[in-house]
């Protein structure tokens, strides 16, 4: 089966000789929920821009479901829907018109476009706003409108560039649900985000890009397995006046009912609990202190940065 997205030796140099992409290669399989992560200015948006032809590549190849973006321009574009980082619709038009027009640009007849516009506006909770000028929508509504617009031609590959930036938690969760649903229905999704828990929660595979290079391309699970240690926060029933000491487990007393414990990958949490129990300490609840993917992300980017400095 053809990959949903195949990027080979992709280079982009902007005016002023800034090299945004340095020969990256990447494959995303059909049906995947794929995260493209990286710090600001790493090259994520440039990559997405090239995929949807808003940015002209310097060299390299990009194909979408086997359609080369240079040779099969029209077919390749039929397969992609893109949700950009910034609002890029006519703020004076109504959401329903924005969607119907976008369908028209893909050659979809007006009656079918109107049906689909209603379907997606309803699914994204925007139907009651379908006939108001889009500039009156809230930030979250505008983001959902861009998702509806990207789906109007029912693409096989949906690319979202930070779709939940500035969106409140409740809305973010509902957008996650929606994205999971359309992914389950077969749409391949590529997501860039700064919320790493979003990537961890939604995506199966990940590529981390930094300074125009892919520094990691693997599954989220494999990536998380690279974690050597995790920091857990334990809520304790007893009131503690001093920090307990358990051999092999560095512990910090946060307050009289809370402990922080560092557990290495090779260590057992059962052993930790047994030792705490023996010391007369009962754990009421436990949680990760930091996002696991975030830890790894910083680690990888730091390593890449120090590598670049040493070069």
């Amino acid at each position: 089966m053809e990959p949903a997205l195949a990027i080979s030796q992709l280079n982009k140099t902007y005016e002023g000789d800034f090299q945004a992409l340095k020969g990256i290669s990447l494959e995303v399989q059909p049906g995947d929920f794929f995260a493209l992560l990286g710090p600001n200015g790493a090259g994520k948006s440039t990559t997405i821009g090239i995929i949807c032809s808003l940015v002209l590549k310097t060299s390299g190849k990009v194909s979408i479901f086997g359609c080369d973006i240079d040779r099969d321009f029209s077919q390749a574009k039929q397969h992609v829907g893109v949700v950009p980082q910034e609002f890029n619709f006519n703020q004076f038009e109504k959401p329903v018109d924005i969607l119907i027009n976008q369908a028209g640009y893909f050659g979809i007849p007006r009656d079918i476009a109107a049906e689909r516009a209603e379907k997606y506006l309803r699914q994204l909770g925007l139907w009651d706003k379908s006939h108001v000028p889009s500039r009156t929508l809230s930030g979250g509504m505008k983001r959902r409108l861009m998702i509806a617009r990207a789906l109007i031609h029912e693409p096989k590959l949906l690319v979202l560039d930070e779709p939940t930036a500035g969106v409140d938690i409740e809305l973010r969760r509902s957008m996650w649900e929606f994205l999971r649903e359309i992914n389950a229905q077969g749409t391949t999704i590529i997501l860039t985000t700064h919320y790493l828990e979003e990537a961890e929660s939604l995506c199966r595979n990940v590529a981390i890009i930094d300074h125009g290079e892919i520094i990691q391309n693997t599954s989220i699970r494999a990536l998380l397995q690279q974690l050597n240690k995790e920091l857990f926060v334990l809520d304790i029933r007893e009131q503690l006046s001093e920090c307990p000491s358990i051999q092999g487990y560095p512990i910090t007393l946060v307050d009289d009912h809370t402990l922080e414990v560092e557990v290495e990958k090779s260590q057992s949490i059962n052993e930790l609990f047994d030792a705490l129990s023996s010391a007369g300490i009962h754990v009421l609840s436990m949680r990760n202190k930091t996002n696991r993917l975030e830890e790894l992300f910083f680690d990888l980017v730091e390593k890449n940065l120090s590598g670049a400095k040493n070069d």
Partner: protein, 257 residues
């Protein structure tokens, strides 16, 4: 894209363009009509009645074709330049750029949208001019042909201006410093026979002169220049501008990074 899909894309762009200028009609349709009415009142009725005849016609009948043509030119141009630049400014041009719509369809869509406004305003001005001046059509094919080609040419020019424009000042430079002088010096208000030999020859490099005279020929049957020159000139300019505009879109100049 199949031909049917291309037609749908083209129709969508044209429909959106028409909807845009109708939605903001107090900005797009009303001002040119008021301006032209003022021209008719001042130059046609008040001053024109003292001027007498120009090229054998009462002055108001002489200026009426030029004023109609002036409204077609400025509205065709300004519709495309403001709509296309507005799309660039708000970045909603990206809706088209990410779609499979070929560049020549995008170009035609915007140009036909501009022509609809130019011809629409021209028609309203023509109807209004009948209140001030009494004229009939001398040659319908010449009248319709030249007005269509002129509208096409200035719509294309508007799109090129919009592609190059970086800010709102850039879209007013050409209309203010090029289009307005060319129109005023293009024989709208006078016959080039009034100019000396030198200035008469200089006027011949002004494309607006050809359009206005051809249109005046279509309506009143008089012209300072041969009509076929006008068609040749406007046709040649339109072809050149079409390929320049298409090339800019193909290269993604100032549209794609």
């Amino acid at each position: 894209m199949t031909n049917c899909e291309k037609w749908i894309a083209f129709e969508t762009i044209v429909r959106r363009e028409i909807h845009r200028f109708l939605r903001i009609w107090p900005q797009t349709l009303l001002p040119p009509v008021i301006t032209i009415v003022l021209y008719f009142v001042i130059f046609g009725t008040l001053i024109g009645s003292r001027i007498g005849e120009m090229s054998g016609l009462p002055y108001i009948q002489f200026v009426a074709p030029g004023l109609i043509m002036m409204s077609v030119i400025t509205n065709s141009y300004s519709n495309v330049v403001s709509s296309f630049f507005g799309s660039k400014f708000q970045r909603n041009i990206e809706e088209l750029l990410v779609s499979p719509t070929p560049n020549w369809i995008i170009l035609l869509g915007f140009v036909v949208g501009g022509m609809c406004r130019g011809l629409g305003v021209g028609l309203v001005v023509t109807v209004l001019s009948l209140y001030f001046a009494d004229f009939s059509i001398h040659s319908l094919p010449v009248t319709v042909g030249i007005v269509l080609m002129t509208s096409l040419m200035f719509s294309l020019a508007g799109l090129i201006n919009a592609v190059f424009a970086r800010n709102f000042d850039d879209i007013s430079i050409i209309p203010t410093f090029v289009l307005t002088p060319l129109t005023y010096l293009g024989g709208v208000f006078y016959s080039i026979d009034l100019l000396g030999d030198f200035w008469s020859k200089v006027s011949m490099i002004n494309p607006v002169l050809y359009m206005v005279n051809a249109f005046r020929y279509g309506i009143a049957g008089i012209s300072d220049i041969p009509v076929y020159w006008a068609f040749g000139m406007v046709g040649m300019f339109s072809v050149v501008l079409f390929f320049v505009a298409l090339n800019l879109l193909e290269k993604g100049s100032r549209l794609r990074s």
